[in-house]
Subunit: 229 residues, 6 copies
């Protein structure tokens, strides 16, 4: 049966090119999302657990069942430096699947953060550690360790497909996923976009209107815009 | 760039085997979902617009932008008898992207229903037509026809991946997606499960307890369950 | 102070022209909303308490406080045959402000329904009475009678401005408000639109594509739409 | 530790007096809730899975974990004719914990319905069976059988405390809980209230205003209500 | 047709008296809202994008369509120093309609902030700029520029009517709108209220009870309050 | 009638042992919740009004009606040093029931914070005062003083039962309630758990896997977990 596999850990992950990941880490989520052609954004309910949290790394995915975080310990073993754990749940759940002990373990294995479509806890400790987490909920409620999910299968997290090895970038604006094979291209496009923006910003700051800078007046008039005094 | 392609219509769709689709149409969503190993279910906010609506067909997908249903007319041309239109939107939107005129057109082209992660309108007419629709919202608000989306690209609809040609089954319990290549296997598994259930139902109706029928007592005792009088 | 006045009952209401209201009652909410230029629609969380409920009448407005339905008795006295009570609350509240006794009273005064941005109860009785109600919530929780609101002031109900005397139309697609002064014009535009739709429906039912009927192909091509085989 | 006990089944339940339950079954939820002094109402997100579903019986409670319905089989054994199963979950979860097989079993044991602060499935079958269920969600997603909850402990279900043996009444207006010891008193108060309402209804139907019937005019004037022509 | 006009830019705005705006800027939202008689408050889902954001200025309104921010460039040209842009959307949408480039342009034109019933992005940059924004959502998802809305028409933003020229005040407690004609009166009432509060605060800080300070004991007793030891 | 009593103030509260409260104040919510066996947690929508807010004290409860904070003044008189006010409302309401004046009064009476299943206002002032508040909403909208609730009755606040005198602990992870009689035991269990965690943290930080530390490998293999290269 295709779709989600249950009870399987894929050890091999084709991670995105480290150089491209490094270059992508310089850009914000909004820039990368635009550069990608507006694809791969998670739903806006995914928020950082502390202001300013940000991360950029390669996805190691984990599929959990509601109320059960057993696989979080399994995924820890599969982590390599620079990885981001992306956790999906088979149904909506607000439990706190993750706290400071798992963060300590993930960090010791080299992980640079967590993106989870569920709840987390120990926010104070995670903040003190500077361990970036993007989640749907914050909840002190713990979970059991009773049923198998999977590790490194494709998952849908907060409305976005994440394949193991994809680049995941998250900041105050949300979370975006760049397919591994597109990482270099996305970095190029982001750099181009940002260069582009610097000049625009200067012109706008000087008082030039977007109407003129983007030459919108004609199109607006053609669309029928009327000015009334 | 991978992910969603914008402005593209794929004319060729590898539809699931019609015989398998026909067999799957005999089963409810809960049965198929269980038979599949609990994969491919859309979020439970997807509801029929009238009680008893149900559908089973092959997915023709359409990716829309918020407030814009232009591609709904494009997708109509790609429909074949037995298809179900699966519509995703690039961001949350409650607009009514679909009403009785489009339903008339879709039906004329052979479509057997619509699954849309957004709003629809003309509910009274659609109900009178017996045209099954599963949606997130009902809204009289119409849309514009200004920006390109795509047709027959993979989409994420209400949390589930839908590839063109997949089987989509929907009833009062929700909406489930069966990958085209797995349709026959899912039909087999569903049939087996249902046969299985008939016997169980009879035993339970006769007063036998699930505790005994499923032989749970030992496992419960081992897990520590205590009875107090 | 402008905005909401508290503790005031306006006895005089300039109701929309009865002939125009009568004509509007023949059209659905989606038709009128389109005919109006897509203005005046309430948020889609407003739903009928029973399938098929519909109403069309002139608004008598009432502004309530959370948990307090005292003014519902005050508004009853201001009702005339053909009126619809439109109830707004000064803050979000799910209480059941209205039940079968008030419905009996409203009906005795000639009212043809209720639109309320809050909760109602006695759904079974209201359904048996055929008294159409569109609400945000259903809740058995009653209210107190302790604080003054107002009657026949402009209110914002579920995101739409309603002035006393406006035409309110509601059906399975939602609730729309037509300013009293525009009632005749809206009826004309609705009739025109509906006539228009009959012909379109026939052509679409015959298998003609919207792409051709609306002559969209050129615009789509110009926007860059690509077909891939 | 008090609060919820885990892994315990209480076999003894002090059920409310059957005669009082019988009498209460004649009243609607809104009436009983008012008669009780407006206590014991569940949150309004609890809805019947089919219009017109209603139930009145004695609570047998079950406490579940997210995604795990093992205890549903345990609770079945504790049911007696006239019981209603009230299911709470230790954290928000939309899974379908209950379907037609469990309904068959519950009914065979004499249960008259289910109230569950989570999801259910097999809505079509449950509707055909006429087995009343009030739930937060409808979802085809099944659950595992891996962790112990409890049976017949006090639970909080949709914001209301339910003790085993309490009377639970549910209809289109929601779900209300009457403590077992208060059942007779609540029935008396409901009867009195309903008698009272019949006369009021007649007077209101005849056109008398609530303003006069409830003698509100003086209090309104004292509160400062002003009429403007 | 009244209601929203589409495709129109009103250049003339009767802005509230600058002196009154200046005086109002000294007060918090809760104070002004109370002073106004509790009118004009937006829904509480409107939140600052960074803690401590606050603004007070005259409204320049813009009406947008879902997923389309074309009019944001049009509104920029209409800004004068001290203005606040108030953006409404014709249907619920979470897209990011606004980011640091538009903020740069708005600020260059003299605007002191934005209130938008939708999403924004570039939160980090906006925070660094100290450009106050109050929004429903944060989302990196951009918008198209394809359809006309309007500028300086009355809009409903998060449940409140905003007319061009009205005073808009926003802080950690939410967003309130003061009609232009009432600005001076609202400032007077706010000042009076605040003076009043200083004395009350001192008395309460000294341990005096509100029960005594507000002389509530008699009214509570009359209402039937009972003390039990 | 049992359940909520209305119009009653219980002056006598059996507060938890001060020494136990003092000891509990050293632990976080997640630790105490685990130590308690995962009981007594409020819903995760309860959030601190400023980051880092935390409190630990004995509950003095107040039951309010929607839109009415009269009883907040009554509860103030019942406060003793070390108390936390826990406020429930008889139906969902977002109004701001509490602001800086009440905070001043509560603090003057010795209260160390507020937990309220509704809205509060004056967030800036409360933050400056360092008065910890955990609420469902922030709203500038004030309330009336017209109807009686109760003080020191058992209440359900955000899904948790709170009895007067219970210990309430709140921090960035949420709000948990410890029954008064269990305070010492919960403090013991929390201390034990925390001691336990220090060692685990060190081992995980050193790179040891939870899989090994918790000896999970055998159970996972037995459950069927497969590794794929």
């Amino acid at each position: 049966m295709s779709g989600y596999e249950m009870g399987v850990v894929h050890r091999k992950v084709e991670r995105a090119d480290p150089a491209a990941v490094q270059r992508l880490s310089a850009f914000g989520v909004a820039t990368v999302h635009e550069a990608m052609g507006r694809v791969g954004l998670m739903k806006p309910y995914m928020r950082p657990i502390y202001p300013g949290a940000h991360l950029c790394g390669t996805a190691v995915t984990v599929l959990l069942h509601p109320g059960d975080n057993w696989m979080m310990h399994v995924v820890a073993e599969q982590l390599q430096p620079g990885d981001v754990v992306v956790a999906a749940v088979t149904a909506d759940c607000t439990d706190g699947f993750f706290g400071d002990l798992l963060a300590t373990s993930f960090r010791a294995r080299g992980a640079c953060g967590l993106v989870i479509d569920a709840g987390v806890r120990d926010v104070k400790d995670l903040t003190a550690m500077g361990f970036p987490v993007f989640s749907k909920t914050i909840s002190a409620k713990g979970t059991v360790k009773a049923t198998l999910g999977s590790v490194n299968v494709p998952v849908i997290c907060a409305g976005a497909i994440v394949n193991p090895g994809d680049v995941v970038i998250a900041d105050d604006d949300g979370v975006v996923v760049v397919p591994a094979a597109q990482a270099a291209k996305a970095a190029d496009a982001s750099a181009e976009r940002e260069a582009n923006e610097a000049e625009k910003r200067a012109r706008l700051a000087a008082g030039e209107l977007g109407l003129d800078m983007y030459k919108m007046r004609e199109a607006l008039a053609k669309a029928g815009l009327k000015y009334v005094d």
